[in-house]
């Protein structure tokens, strides 16, 4: 299990760490049982993401994917940001070890979750295909 240089760079010098007080949208995904929690804060003006911050509890890959995902959506239109795929994050990081692929999925979900929150706030409907579905990854529901 070896991380790429890009991953190590984004892990050791994560971009956009922090919180946004008056965020336009906030998304939080993951849970303590799985050992990863990502929280993304968006500042949106005219549907453009003007600022983005994250807080992450998790492994090196979780932090690096959070960092990269925020970089990839900064300055983008929300509709474009919504389309950010985990694959795009992985590619931008020059790959992830197989056991860490779920972190990129988490990053994708965190972005969508924050946009969803924004849409909820402004009363816009999220396109069906981008709505978050429970993946049943955590014990909370999957083992019941």
């Amino acid at each position: 299990m070896a991380y790429s240089q890009k991953v190590m760079d984004h892990f050791t010098n994560p971009r956009n760490v922090g919180e946004i007080e008056d965020a336009s949208g906030v998304g939080e995904v993951g849970n303590m049982k799985c050992g990863d929690i990502m929280k993304i804060f968006l500042k949106i003006e005219d549907d453009i993401i003007t600022d983005v911050k994250f807080n992450t509890f998790g492994c090196g890959a979780a932090i690096a994917t959070s960092s990269m995902a925020t970089e990839l959506i900064k300055g983008k239109h929300v509709e474009e940001a919504m389309k950010l795929s985990n694959q795009a994050v992985v590619e931008a990081l020059d790959g992830l070890p197989p056991v860490k692929m779920h972190c990129s999925v988490l990053a994708e979900e965190a972005v969508r979750s924050a946009i969803q929150d924004y849409y909820n706030k402004i009363g816009r409907e999220m396109p069906e295909e981008y709505k978050l579905k429970c993946e049943g990854c955590c014990e909370d529901c999957s083992k019941k």
Partner: protein
């Protein structure tokens, strides 16, 4: 500065062990089963190594079976005791919740094959309680297997008392002493241990070699069939260099235990005190006193173990989170869950394991390096309540 503080995962080979091994590769390289001089030279090295291991364990040489390491020995011990039990209609096995996977998985496999398994609680302090064990022993109990000291949190189990109890009840007692050997006193006779596992690479011996002590009265089954090596109990050309290296390392560790271990214990205490004093919301896992001289295991609230390890590694510090074997997996350590840690804390564990090779300077370096790293991770953690 580079600090290796992961000695519970593996250790470097000591100079004297390596020196003992070297001639075995190119000079005394014979097969001990061979009749000729070259073979008989190797056979003599094998006999001497067996005597050394037996001596420092309080055993007889013919009670020692060399194996490829701790995992193999654990498997063979458990399977042997189970087969013996099955022949007598005894199909109940007692172990603990925080054994190494080499024991747990072997026991679980037997569970699937019709054995009944009781896994004892290890409480918050990581120590098995004797009355609970006594209550668990049944007329059909074939085996009690309790590790000597835990590989993650370092807690030492009441082995002598367990040995006495099992002997009294007529139940075979096996102990996985992989983490204890070379660090704590062992005397299989005085401690009433029927079977014991150790592995050389945990006490500055080579990897790929270990042994199973099995008391004469107890029949051993064969895991690896083939040639008649090891009295027919373990086939395969004997790994003479590794066996010789193990014996040299074990002798060295046992002879110097009285000097080394208090020193290591002092380093560990300095580390524990330093970390607890400098970093808020850190707890020491496992009993503070009844623990391996070199083991410090912390839960650091609000951060995840792997990211902590990576930043420590960037600072030149080799540490671990959970056991080395399971890293890469997503589950938090079964050991930490067994002592009742909630998932969030179990995910944030840090194991620093010292040996006589560590220095006070290194410990002070860790104490300096750790707080800003923890602070950095906590600052980006959504779980940590920022001040």
């Amino acid at each position: 500065m580079r600090v290796y503080a992961d000695n519970a995962a593996t250790t470097q080979v000591s100079r004297s062990a390596l020196e003992a091994m070297l001639p075995c590769f190119t000079e005394y390289y014979g097969n001990p089963s061979s009749m000729h001089q070259s073979g008989q030279d190797a056979a003599r090295l094998l006999i001497n190594a067996r005597e050394t291991m037996a001596k420092y364990l309080g055993a007889s040489p013919n009670e020692i079976t060399f194996t490829s390491g701790g995992s193999e020995a654990d498997n063979q011990a458990i399977i042997s005791a189970a087969l013996r039990g099955a022949r007598k209609g005894k199909k109940h096995i007692i172990s603990t919740k925080f054994e190494h996977h080499a024991v747990l998985h072997a026991v679980e496999k037997l569970g699937k094959e019709g054995f009944e398994i009781t896994l004892l609680d290890v409480h918050e302090d990581g120590i098995v309680r004797l009355p609970k064990l006594e209550a668990a022993i049944r007329p059909d109990t074939a085996l009690v297997t309790v590790m000597y000291a835990n590989n993650e949190i370092g807690t030492i189990q009441p082995i002598s008392e367990i040995g006495a109890l099992c002997r009294e009840k007529g139940v075979i007692f096996h102990t996985d002493a992989v983490q204890a050997a070379g660090h704590l006193e062992i005397d299989v006779t005085k401690q009433n241990i029927d079977m014991l596992t150790l592995s050389a690479h945990k006490f500055h011996g080579p990897k790929g070699i270990g042994l199973l002590y099995c008391r004469k009265a107890i029949p051993l089954s064969t895991l690896i069939e083939g040639g008649a090596q090891e009295r027919g109990k373990r086939a395969g050309t004997e790994n003479i260099p590794a066996i010789v290296g193990m014996a040299a390392a074990f002798r060295e560790a046992c002879e110097n235990m009285a000097v080394n271990m208090p020193r290591v214990r002092a380093l560990r205490d300095r580390l524990i005190d330093g970390v607890l004093a400098r970093i808020p919301e850190v707890i020491l896992n496992g009993d503070r006193e009844k623990r391996l001289p070199g083991n410090a295991n912390f839960s650091v609230t609000g951060i995840e173990g792997e990211s902590l390890l990576l930043l420590l590694d960037n600072a030149g510090i080799c540490a671990s989170s959970g056991s080395a074997c399971t890293s890469g997996s997503l589950d938090p350590s079964h050991v930490l869950l067994a002592i009742g840690l909630p998932h969030e804390t179990a995910h944030g564990s840090l194991r620093l394991t010292l040996s006589e090779y560590n220095t006070q300077e290194e410990i002070d370096y860790i104490i300096e390096a750790l707080p800003p790293i923890v602070e950095k991770l906590r600052m980006m953690s959504p779980v940590w309540k920022k001040k």
